[in-house]
């Protein structure tokens, strides 16, 4: 197949909304949404600040199966308020993960897939967003003991702020070329540290540091897939069936501290150095 023919056959995952993404990953006919938009569980805080709410608060919770395995999918809508986490959306995700862990304690092997398109805390709900993110973290670490929690950062928003820590807690991470993953947004870093440190308008520079390809080459994510519905679905299904990893990435402090000990911090770092530090042969 030529490249063009392949592209024509491809169905973009990135272009899908949160609900469509969840539907696309779940086995046909198994999608069942919890607290759907018609429940009108909207943000109690946005209208008070003159901001139009969305009926699902930007988070879709869907139960179903993937390859026959029971899962709950939590999908963030990146187009609503930059995918920011408010009280309701945050509680939807935390609560769903808590119930999935409870399922496992009752013998039901529910796993979770998180579709992460988010800038982190929704600043209009500041401390309630932050609190919800702490609870999402807690629930991931709990559920991860029983079943894999798979994070997907497809793009185009990427995954930042406290939710990048949630990504870091996932058993496995899947990214595309369109993904970016980092703690701090480029503008905030530039503002705090100066343009010499981080030029937020230099797009190639930003992508070379936080882009999906670099994260994969540095071993900070597990799979780098094409922006194609079938490809994302297959990778998620594959990882679900693989089960829990031998050791979670976030538990490997000894390895990371050892590697960080080798970084020369007298000069600035470049992407190639990160790749070889984390993936290269060690003495």
């Amino acid at each position: 197949m030529t490249d063009n023919a392949h592209l024509l056959k491809q169905h973009s995952f990135v272009e899908l909304g949160a609900r469509q993404r969840a539907r696309a990953l779940l086995d046909a006919g198994s999608f069942r949404e919890l607290i759907d938009p018609f429940a009108r569980m909207t943000s109690p805080w946005l209208p008070k600040q003159g901001v139009v709410p969305q009926a699902d608060d930007g988070v879709v919770i869907a139960k179903g199966s993937i390859g026959g395995k029971p899962v709950v999918v939590c999908a963030i809508e990146g187009n609503f308020q930059g995918g920011s986490m408010g009280e309701v959306g945050g509680a939807k995700m935390a609560g769903a993960l808590e119930l999935a862990a409870e399922d496992n304690r009752k013998g039901i092997p529910t796993a979770a897939v998180l579709l992460l398109e988010t800038g982190g805390v929704r600043l209009q709900e500041a401390n309630l967003g932050l609190a919800a993110i702490a609870e999402i973290h807690a629930a991931i670490v709990d559920l991860r003991r029983y079943q894999p929690v798979i994070g997907v950062v497809a793009g185009s928003v990427g995954c930042f702020g406290g939710m990048s820590i949630a990504a870091g807690l996932c058993s496995y991470l899947v990214v595309t070329q369109e993904a970016r993953l980092g703690l701090n947004g480029p503008q905030v870093i530039e503002q705090e540290a100066g343009i010499e440190e981080y030029d937020s308008r230099d797009r190639p520079f930003i992508w070379s540091i936080t882009g999906g390809e670099q994260r994969y080459a540095s071993g900070l994510v597990d799979a780098f897939v094409a922006d194609d519905v079938a490809a994302v679905q297959q990778h998620v299904e594959h990882l679900l069936h693989k089960g829990k990893p031998e050791q979670e990435r976030s538990s490997q402090y000894a390895l990371f501290l050892q590697r960080l000990g080798q970084v020369d911090t007298t000069t600035q770092i470049d992407p190639a150095a990160v790749r070889s530090l984390y993936q290269g042969e060690q003495p």
Binding site: L34, I35, A39, M41, P44, W45, K48, I61, K63, E87, V88, A91, K92, G95, A96, L99, L123, E125, A126, N127, L128, G129, L130, A131, I133, E135, H137, A138, V141, D142, G161, G162, S164, I165, A166, A167, G168, L169, G182, L183, N184, I189, Q191, E192, E197, Y198, R215, L220, R249, S250, S251, Y253, F256, L257, L260, V263, Q268, I269, D270, V274
Partner: protein
């Protein structure tokens, strides 16, 4: 003269006065094993290290070394007590101005380092260690998520310098396209937007708030009062579950409970 807060270090030194320091950690991560009454405890703090190899983390920010260093300090406590019935309490002394902002930090995956700290604290709590967060200064955003926010119980000292927030005022104003004044006005009527500890307490996330006489240089009476409060928090955590459900229930956070009710009903 210093551009950084020393509260965290002072409270660490005060509470861990007779404790044995844990070695092998980055200079900016302090940990020591001691007791509170008959309860074994590991005290933990992130402190400023002006000579930090990572220049963007010299003022007490939580960066790469601090995230993974906390993970190390907490995980070794879990390992030491693996066979023990009486798990040592983990007392996170919180005075963290922010996460570290820098090129090295992003490039080397600071999000993963902070996940390392969260991972260890959450595992400790699930393993049965009472984890208590003591807020003595700033508890900002990612730094707080990494150091303290996984605690079973949170205690805040009542002081204008003790604040919890997702972003500093100037940055928050810029991102939400408001002036700092507008932001402050909004914060006065929207509790989750506020920076003061009483508004934060109104969200139901704190177990206790406590007044002390000299927060910068804790007096003997201050230390005693905080120790008593910590001991009570440990007992309460031991009596309760090892999840974070005790944070739910405040009227200003009713949607968080409502969502969980609906999810459970529809699950």
């Amino acid at each position: 003269m210093s551009s950084y807060s020393t509260r965290g270090l002072k409270w660490f030194n005060a509470l861990a006065a007779n404790a044995v320091e844990v070695t092998g950690l980055p200079t900016s991560v302090k940990a020591a094993d001691g007791t509170m009454g008959d309860q074994p405890a590991r005290f933990l703090a992130v402190v400023a290290d002006p000579d930090n190899r990572f220049p963007r983390a010299r003022n007490g920010e939580v960066g790469l070394l601090e995230g993974w260093g906390l993970a190390h300090a907490v995980d070794t406590a879990i390992e030491l007590d693996r066979q023990s019935e009486n798990k040592r309490a983990l007392i996170a002394i919180i005075d963290v101005p922010s996460q570290a902002y820098g090129r090295r930090e992003e490039a080397l995956g600071i999000h993963q380092a902070l996940a390392g700290a969260v991972d260890a604290y959450a595992r400790a709590r699930l393993a049965g260690h009472p984890v208590i967060g003591l807020l003595v200064g700033k508890a900002m955003s990612g730094a707080f998520l990494a150091h303290g926010y996984q605690a079973n119980r949170l205690i805040a000292l009542r002081d204008p310098g003790v604040m919890v927030h997702a972003m500093g005022k100037a940055s928050a104003a810029r991102v939400t396209l408001r002036s700092v004044e507008e932001l402050e006005k909004l914060a006065a009527s929207i509790p989750p937007m506020a920076y003061d500890i009483d508004s934060y307490a109104g969200l139901g996330l704190l177990w206790e708030t406590l007044s002390v006489s000299q927060i910068e240089e804790p007096s003997a009476a201050d230390i005693r009062a905080v120790q008593e409060c910590l001991t009570a928090a440990v007992k309460d955590a031991q009596a309760g579950g090892n999840d974070l459900s005790s944070r739910l229930g405040a009227p200003n956070r009713s949607a968080s409970s409502k969502v969980r009710e609906l999810l459970r009903a529809q699950w």
